[in-house]
Point group: C2
Chain length 238, copies 2
């Protein structure tokens, strides 16, 4: 397997993504963009990119902030994430740049692209969906579901899989229900999976180090959601 | 594969279930009880039992009414289902009888039992859960989620997978949210999957013949939910 840091641009911002693919395979393959949590592109998403590369995908970990910046402080991460997410135009531009880079790679089948995202990355993936990005599908893991610019009927091309913890204080049930309404009105093909007793960042083994009672790794939910994502990919990449 | 009608009793009522298993296999295998829709034990559930038998399970289609009675009229089916479901004691007795029969079969590993149910059968499966039945898990497909006797903390042994259509008029979102609250308070391990634009009876290819606009087969939801069930079985039957 080959991994490398690759640069791409969103306007004046230089972004440093993490590319992983199986260089023993030939021919174009489906591409999967991974957008990370508010802490930036770190070890967990890089590891997931490598797992996806082993499954045969071209996997690109996207950089939300520029220069591959990673954050360690939760209030700072929330502040930086909010600065991007509070403006749908900025959010959409940031993920569009990453999708364009992934699609342009010689090993990527640009007709078969998906995005997955964690927390802020889930929100960014959903902004790409609302923006009408030509994606086969997106998966949001404990992603924020609200938006400043709701999806428009007929514009959504991607199938949507939202996976959320029932005890996630950042994604309360009212937000989940409002998202379902939004996407139903837009005519989207969505699925929502909710897990009992599961909190925010359930896919991140390091979640406990954040020191917030609403943020917690959950092995069962992590494994179930990864399997659900794989089934979803099997469906959308036929 | 071997299929046969087998009789069992709930009090004075003689029930006629449909048993399917692979008679080329030896040794005890996990058992799956299938409880049907309000129309009684018909072709769709018998076919599902055969599919589960091919997957290696001992599959028993349960009879909700006695003598294997099937109904064709929706108002009559709703009336008969309501008569069972409106009394939790009756409902629990009816499914307990089927689970006891399945567990007692020589080819069944009685420590590895699950139940799945469609519509009324989903409601019956959940009554078994609330009753503390020694199940590894249950799957409800477009099942009714409300009950007269909510689950008690510490009593639920089964893992729960609820799969529901977002446009199912028999299972509105308020009912789904109330169920989640009930089962969270009871400390249950539950998962809920909801599908956009999907109505009641989405697993039943004959659903259209009922002539009710809220009842409709959905091939995508049928296939997705079957796959989710198989993943769930892989998890609970380890």
């Amino acid at each position: 397997m080959k991994t490398e840091t690759i640069e791409y641009k969103d306007g004046n911002v230089t972004l440093r993504g993490y590319l992983a693919y199986d260089d023993q395979r030939t021919g174009k393959r489906p591409g999967v963009l991974l957008m990370p949590e508010a802490f930036g592109l770190g070890a967990n998403v890089k590891s997931r990119a490598e797992q996806l590369a082993r499954l045969g995908y071209v996997a690109l970990g996207g950089d939300p902030y520029g220069n591959g910046e990673e954050l360690s402080d939760l209030p700072e991460a929330i502040k930086r994430a909010t600065a991007i997410l509070s403006d749908a135009g900025t959010a959409r531009g940031r993920i569009r740049a990453a999708l364009d880079k992934l699609s342009s790679l010689p090993q990527t089948d640009s007709a078969r692209i998906a995005a997955i995202g964690y927390c802020m990355g889930g929100a960014l993936s959903l902004e790409a969906v609302r923006d009408g990005a030509p994606l086969r599908g997106i998966v949001s893991f404990h992603g924020v579901l609200q938006t400043g610019i709701p999806a428009q009927a007929g514009k959504v091309k991607a199938k949507i899989l939202v996976i959320t913890g029932a005890d996630d204080p950042f994604v309360p049930v009212a937000q989940v229900n409002a998202f379902a309404d939004e996407m139903t009105k837009a005519g989207a093909d969505w699925q929502i999976i909710s897990y009992a007793g599961v909190k925010h960042s359930f896919t991140n083994p390091e979640a406990g180090s954040v020191g917030n009672p609403g943020i917690e790794y959950n092995k069962s939910a992590d494994e179930r959601s990864w399997k659900a994502m794989r089934n979803f990919f099997d469906e959308i990449f036929v």
